[in-house]
């Protein structure tokens, strides 16, 4: 009985860890999707890029912290360039155009990764200093790094909340700066806000990829594997809602993890059915939606 309890506890911890990972990834998606109104299917590609750049840095012998910073910096620079050239105009285009263009980006990203690192699965080791484990009772050990993922996720969440509450950009974003009617008013430099929000959202995706790298494996197309559940998180939590992304992220992570051990054949389907059920009752998601378009 105790064995069962501890095993269950371990799965719950895993659920939280996955949930926090989804949360980190989904915040950016929720911002870009919900606040900017841009369908960015390539969000997962930046997650993938972050993981691979981190991997490349480690392979080159760079110390982990620097590898993280280098990967993030490169991706932020890339996203700034992309925002100015592609995504800025995408804001005013139809959803079809957005879907197609970002789908094209997925194809490009996956092929580039395959061309540079090949199609085989890569893995990243947990950095030495974080590779310990903590005891959770009954003689069981739980990897320290996995706990760290949850802690990081929580920290990121708090950080984003602070940014949204107290910075000028954050207040503008919450006030609906991207809503069509408001754009003309108040002299806000929408393009600058767009650049910052987009860059920030992408950086979060890449960061999620870096954090996930030691736990999940790296392969071309890994971005899409997380993108679909993340879209569920965003729908469930309501577009543009930080609180929603948090709650929904944990829910999705938990359902997926616990489902995998209890009903493996239905585990993948379960979350989509849960989403369907909730959306049938509340078409705007758990925490209501701010639909810009």
């Amino acid at each position: 009985m105790d064995e069962l309890l501890v095993s269950a506890f371990v799965q719950v911890l895993n659920g939280f860890q996955l949930g926090f990972l989804y949360f980190m990834f989904a915040i950016g998606l929720s911002l870009i999707l919900g606040v900017m109104g841009v369908v960015n299917l390539a969000h997962g590609s930046f997650y993938m890029l972050g993981a691979y750049l981190f991997y490349a840095g480690l392979q080159a012998g760079i110390p982990p912290i620097l590898a993280v910073l280098a990967a993030l910096a490169s991706i932020v620079a890339l996203s700034a360039g992309l925002e100015k050239t592609i995504f800025r105009s995408l804001r005013n285009r139809s959803h079809l155009d957005q879907v197609l263009l970002t789908y094209g980006l997925i194809l490009i990203a996956n092929e580039l990764i395959t061309m540079i690192w090949g199609p085989t699965i890569r893995s990243v080791d947990v950095p030495e200093v974080l590779s310990g484990s903590i005891s959770i009772g009954f003689g069981r050990e739980y990897p320290l790094y996995r706990v760290l993922v949850s802690v990081i996720g929580l920290t990121v969440g708090v950080g984003v909340w602070l940014l949204l509450q107290f910075t000028r950009i954050g207040i503008q974003v919450r006030a609906g700066v991207f809503d069509r009617e408001m754009t003309s008013a108040l002299g806000v430099d929408v393009n600058r806000v767009s650049l910052l929000v987009f860059g920030f959202g992408i950086a979060l995706a890449a960061f999620a990829g870096i954090v996930a790298a030691p736990i999940l494996s790296l392969y071309p197309g890994m971005g899409e594997t997380i993108l679909i559940p993340a879209i569920m998180v965003v729908i469930l939590g309501g577009l543009g809602s930080l609180k929603g992304a948090f709650v929904a992220g944990i829910v999705v992570g938990m359902v997926e993890t616990l489902g995998r051990v209890t009903i493996p054949e239905l585990s993948n389907v379960t979350i989509y059915l849960v989403v369907a059920a909730i959306l049938y009752l509340r078409p705007e998601g758990l925490f209501g939606a701010r639909i810009s378009k």
Partner: protein, 321 residues
């Protein structure tokens, strides 16, 4: 524009003659293109006319394919009998998804169609009953008696070709009638200004649902033919990458027209076939083309052809058929 009637008629004539003029390889490719054309046409009703961007259309394609494969494999149902059943299951699935999806707008609709196609994908991929990730193989296609005049043996490539050609022609004609009917007018109205339609007295949700189901049925038929042709069905048919491919075909060829999706299916197949032989990274090129296309080009290849060809004789404010 007269030439817009002549070219499709000419193309159809060429297609009828194709088996007698081209190699078996090309005929096989033509079958594939026709099936994809039917699939693209079915999606165009949603995307091109109703402006409902579905990212989950492949699910109904795959369901059509799996229906005929499963019925043959598990219940020994001859593939021909399974045709109406394939279409019916696809339409039922579309109904189930549609009921929820039409309650949503804009971005939500895109995402929800994606989500539900994933349900079907995983149901099929994770289940042993449907052959898991390997899929199901079709043993034989079967043959039938055409009005006592001749026997059509679908295991013969040429007979299969004409079977597919006739069905594609029928679907195209039905779509043409549909678009020009009052129902089609409502569909176009939904795409142009759904709120206006509501204010005039139409329950747009109901019409959107019917459109969604019809489109799903078309995809199911295409899936049926695909399984028949390839003699297998596997989960990749339901993947969202497949949904993406259909959208690409649509947009490249020109959505909102009848010729566009057909042309798009042709272009993508040719691209995959010939570019793919040249480099295994052809998807990189496709991605770049896609990005540039969306950024620079308005419409698709067929509208561009029409524009260029009628540049001289264009009169202001006149509608094109």
């Amino acid at each position: 524009m007269k030439f817009q009637k002549i070219i499709p008629a000419g193309v159809f004539a060429a297609l009828v003659l194709l088996p007698f003029l081209a190699s078996p390889f090309h005929m096989d490719m033509a079958i594939r293109i026709l099936i994809l054309a039917m699939l693209a046409l079915s999606l165009d009703l949603l995307v091109g006319h109703a402006k409902m961007i579905s990212l989950g259309h492949a699910a109904f394609f795959g369901i059509g394919a799996y229906t005929v494969a499963l019925l043959a494999d598990k219940a020994g149902v001859p593939p021909l009998l399974a045709l109406p059943l394939s279409v019916l299951t696809a339409m039922t699935a579309a109904f189930l998804v549609g009921i929820l999806a039409v309650r949503t707008r804009g971005i939500y609709f895109v995402l929800i169609t994606l989500a539900f196609s994933q349900v079907f994908y995983y149901l099929i991929h994770d289940s042993a009953f449907t052959g898991g990730s390997d899929g199901i193989v079709l043993m034989e296609r079967g043959s039938f008696d055409l009005l006592g005049l001749l026997v059509v043996n679908l295991d013969e490539e040429r007979d299969l070709y004409f079977f597919v050609l006739v069905l594609t022609a029928i679907v195209t004609t039905l779509l043409y009638l549909l678009i020009h009917s009052p129902f089609g007018q409502i569909v176009k109205g939904i795409g142009l200004n759904a709120s206006r339609l509501e204010s005039v007295g139409f329950d747009t949700r109901r019409y959107a649902l019917v459109t969604f189901v019809i489109a799903g049925g078309g995809a199911g038929l295409a899936g049926y033919l695909f399984a028949l042709h390839q003699i297998f069905a596997d989960p990749t048919l339901l993947s969202w990458h497949m949904s993406g491919q259909i959208l690409i075909m649509l947009v490249l060829g020109g959505s909102g027209t009848l010729v566009g999706p057909i042309l798009g299916a042709l272009l993508i197949t040719l691209l995959e076939e010939y570019l793919g032989a040249y480099t295994s990274n052809w998807k990189l090129i496709l991605g770049i083309v896609l990005v540039l296309f969306v950024l620079r080009v308005r419409g698709g290849v067929w509208p561009w052809i029409v524009r260029t060809a009628t540049a001289r004789g264009r009169r202001d404010g006149k509608v094109q058929p």
